[in-house]
Assembly symmetry: C2
Homo-oligomer: 659 residues x 2
Amino acid sequence: GMNPDLASERQTASFSVEKLTARLDGGAEHTRIRRAVVEAIECDPVFSRENQYFQSQNERYEAAVRKAVHLQKKMHEMGWTEDGPEFKYIYRALSGDIAFLLHRIFMRSISMLGSDKQIAKWIPLATQYQLIGSYAQTELGHGTYLQGLETTAVFDITTQEFILNTPKISAMKWWPGDMGRSATHTVVFAQLYVQGKCYGVHPFIVQIRSLQDHSLCPGITAGDIGPKMNFEHVDNGYLMLQNVRVPRENMLNKFCEVQPDGTYARWGSQKINYFTMTTVRISLISDEVIIPLMKACTIAIRYSVVRRQSKLKPGEQEAKILDYQTQQEKLLPQLAAAYAFHFINNYLQELFDKVYREIQRKKFDTLPELHAFSSGFKAMVTQYCTSAVAICLQACGGHGYSLLSGLPSLYTKIVASCIYEGENTILLLQTARFLIKCFMAAGAGQPVPPSVTYLAAVKPGKCPAKNKLDFLSPDVYTEAYQHMAARLISSTAAKLQDLIQSGVKKTDAWNQCTVQLVQAAKAHCHYITVKNFAETVEKLETKAGIQKIMKHLCDLFALHGIFSNGGVFLHDGYVSGAQMDMVTASYLDLLAIIRKDAVPLVDAFDFTDKSLNSALGSYDGQVYQRLYEWAQKSPTNKQISPAYERYLKPLLHNTLSKL
Amino acid sequence: GMNPDLASERQTASFSVEKLTARLDGGAEHTRIRRAVVEAIECDPVFSRENQYFQSQNERYEAAVRKAVHLQKKMHEMGWTEDGPEFKYIYRALSGDIAFLLHRIFMRSISMLGSDKQIAKWIPLATQYQLIGSYAQTELGHGTYLQGLETTAVFDITTQEFILNTPKISAMKWWPGDMGRSATHTVVFAQLYVQGKCYGVHPFIVQIRSLQDHSLCPGITAGDIGPKMNFEHVDNGYLMLQNVRVPRENMLNKFCEVQPDGTYARWGSQKINYFTMTTVRISLISDEVIIPLMKACTIAIRYSVVRRQSKLKPGEQEAKILDYQTQQEKLLPQLAAAYAFHFINNYLQELFDKVYREIQRKKFDTLPELHAFSSGFKAMVTQYCTSAVAICLQACGGHGYSLLSGLPSLYTKIVASCIYEGENTILLLQTARFLIKCFMAAGAGQPVPPSVTYLAAVKPGKCPAKNKLDFLSPDVYTEAYQHMAARLISSTAAKLQDLIQSGVKKTDAWNQCTVQLVQAAKAHCHYITVKNFAETVEKLETKAGIQKIMKHLCDLFALHGIFSNGGVFLHDGYVSGAQMDMVTASYLDLLAIIRKDAVPLVDAFDFTDKSLNSALGSYDGQVYQRLYEWAQKSPTNKQISPAYERYLKPLLHNTLSKL
């Protein structure tokens, strides 16, 4: 049966949950397809995550490989294809708990960087999993700065081979997934040397394990880099190369080639490479960041209406913890953020599709904008969602700290998204560089992309709000965000100019502004997120109560941002102290309003119990029963502890006579 | 050998590291004793944490029990006693990785709540570990709100026994350490019923496991609650009681008793119970929170001078990442906070000692102040340090995410401190309640404790700073903090009054102010921390450069707080926008100054490599070598994966013919 405290929350929804779900999916037909995929995956015991929280790193790895191999059969059986409408839901349904994701990057890099001949040779084998690929770029001592990679590939003209080496320990490849234990092949990025001259970093296909018995190939040292904060299912690996020879044909040569006589030839545009990174960044925002936040909100909010603690009023029953203002203030802004980021992800997808169409027409003009914004949004969204998941975890008290709640693994996984595919600070500085450039261009009357035209018109001003209701006007708060972002960008640009004019070298001046540049880039992304949320709400259907509740969430997201970052709005007096009190009042009012729909708002995310894998977050709210059932399954309850025989018995066995 | 990039950092220290270490320890003699304890513990292989990151929950538990038992021998052998000067360093030297901490709480509760007769019976047995105790208060459905506990103890006058029961699943005891697998006895908190009347929650000693064979006693269901985010070494447990009978003498009866005829008698003051909670909260601040932050800073800062990435200037070597302003801005405020909190902990210890002396003279007047501030500082310091450790982890990029860095386990452990021994929001609201009360009293001209007299004189005003150097004056920034805290407390008090006067019920009005009350309580604690840091610096010896560098850190801590929470300082115009720019300028200047001493400042914490247990943080800075050596020890590198035979071989073994 359903916990009555949870059931009662669902009876008073102000909107149609099913309609909102369809809106989030992009239409009811998508919802239908997604549910069919989830159903097919979840009813298959091979894909079960039931015992995940009790498994060792080794068991998780084994299961992930089993699932990856099984998935091929499943796809065939179900008639799912990589370009079919089901495909994007498969990874979500598996919660990413599957091996061979780097194998896919291996394939993608060959498709992007390899010649037709190379593609014809390798892709069919990889598609059939007749080899397992990995992608070895990052080194023990080198990540972000690709030019600093130390692995070498020297062309030997006599044998027509490249000789690959790890010249020192910091040059060891480190982190590549699927490489520690599974991969037979990998794409190795190495400094290319021909006749003593270095031509920079290039990709080489290298076999690392035997196809017959999986033993390491001659000259190869490889293994697992050991335990991480999460990703137990992935065999992130290390790789050392000692005089490993590969044929000349193994350098991926769509854009450049070493010819038999040692001539180095280069052709075509490599701009498309940026596009690959951009693709990865945009796709991870949804799967690895927004969905985990939606799960965390679902778990924490359902738990918060089931958990009762202390009394709000003497003589009454203990109150649901979600009825405390402080609990609302922890969770509801995170819920609003989940919606805000879902919509900004749609915005990025549209921008991406537009750029993609232009690139197909060989137009690359919009690539820098896409690159800058996908970087900034990747950084902003991952950082925000990581903090948000941490808040959800702590808001569930002790039970949130149990792995069985599902929240610790959501946190330990999402935090990695701040680091991989571009460390966030570095990404924000790339966004900032673009914004400063646009600001200068706009100031000089040159054309800039539409999303940054607001930089052309930075001017002092005052927020026109006269009472707390005025702050529920999207125009009012969107203007405030715009003003704030423009001010931070322009004042940082001014500081940069001042430093350079006072004789500080450009590179030093840039470094001295980076704290503020990061702040400015975040402010821009925050502004665009608010603006996009408000515009999305305006376009929503007014039926079924959806626009109304989304408007509340948009207001909450915007006002929470002003409330929490008051300094940047008050700084130049655009918002006054009295107005900040209005913001606070409206913000706190909204908490009480949205609280009423909190459970329907997380129900709309439409997670199954299996996908949440949480003793706190299930649809029926039977929290205590489930915690107890799950705890009993812990292997620590099945193993007879040798600690008693060894350590305790000698101490305890004389006690009886003394009691 | 030492990594030259790390060695060079040590050659330019502006102060004596050894003198600062002695200052932190409270004198050179303490340093000597601490080092002797650390040396004795670390050279003993039983206490080794070498393989910790590779161990299962079960292995961690076994090791913790082994260590706890061994520690008794060790203490005897070394001549260490519980009231000797070495004792406080033992737990630190073990990094808390030991069993039977709840056994100590079991003993403490008997000592505090038991009669002399009960103490005489149980304490000697417990001291000798002839029984293993636990402390069963928290239930599956009940934590903070003690009155809500559901376990019952019904007095049976015919047999002179209490009958203990778990009436429903939410009443199950849940979380007690040492209870899941080890304990033979526990103190159970239950609602006492005598002749149908409930007398509220009382403590009972209950045996749960046989002393002969460790099997569960009749009527007892108990086990391990399963995996948590950390604390793998602790067997947190569950406990159900079905008609479990204990003799009348097992109710701890220092303050109250059920007499043979069923008469309930109560005597003495229970105020002292608050004092116990306070003791625990203050002691955890140092061991569980500040020391872990100091470790995280040590690891992240040493790594940041060894790791080089990208170029600050073209043509130069790649730069140490600590030379980037953004990296300084991540780490150095956390370092300053570690010092700030070390000093506020000293302040709390002094307040504690003073109150303790008064209590011994039966004076309880200062207990509410100590209770309010220990609550607020526990909450503020745990929250701040948890965020700080997360920042340190993310600042180390991918390597910080490896368990081998030591940072993930520091994070996953410290985050629990925000929840246990009083959930932080609830604690801050207790502080807020005290502050509001003091504010009202001060306004009415009544006397208030010295630390809150500033509330008597809340007045508008302006910060007098005229240039960025003025913000390096402790008077200027301390005043700003004081003003800000007083304003938040007074404005929240005003809102509360307004609501009540407008007819809102007191309890509802309180709930509607809690977000702001929490903010006000934090602001007070932040103010006192800054003030105490500034006062401590003033009293430091001026020799050996210590006062100078501590002054810089104090300035940094204070200005970082203003920079990061600009809104509350700008709100009423006390600090202007132009002054906020001065704060920012001074703050950024300080980063560059303190960066020069960053490594000596973490060296002064004097952690051994074994206590850091980090491949990134060792004293010699041989980061890459150590990561590689440690990774090779991972069991995933020793196990032959069945995944190859089972899943991969069938796919791969036909590939050769196609290549």
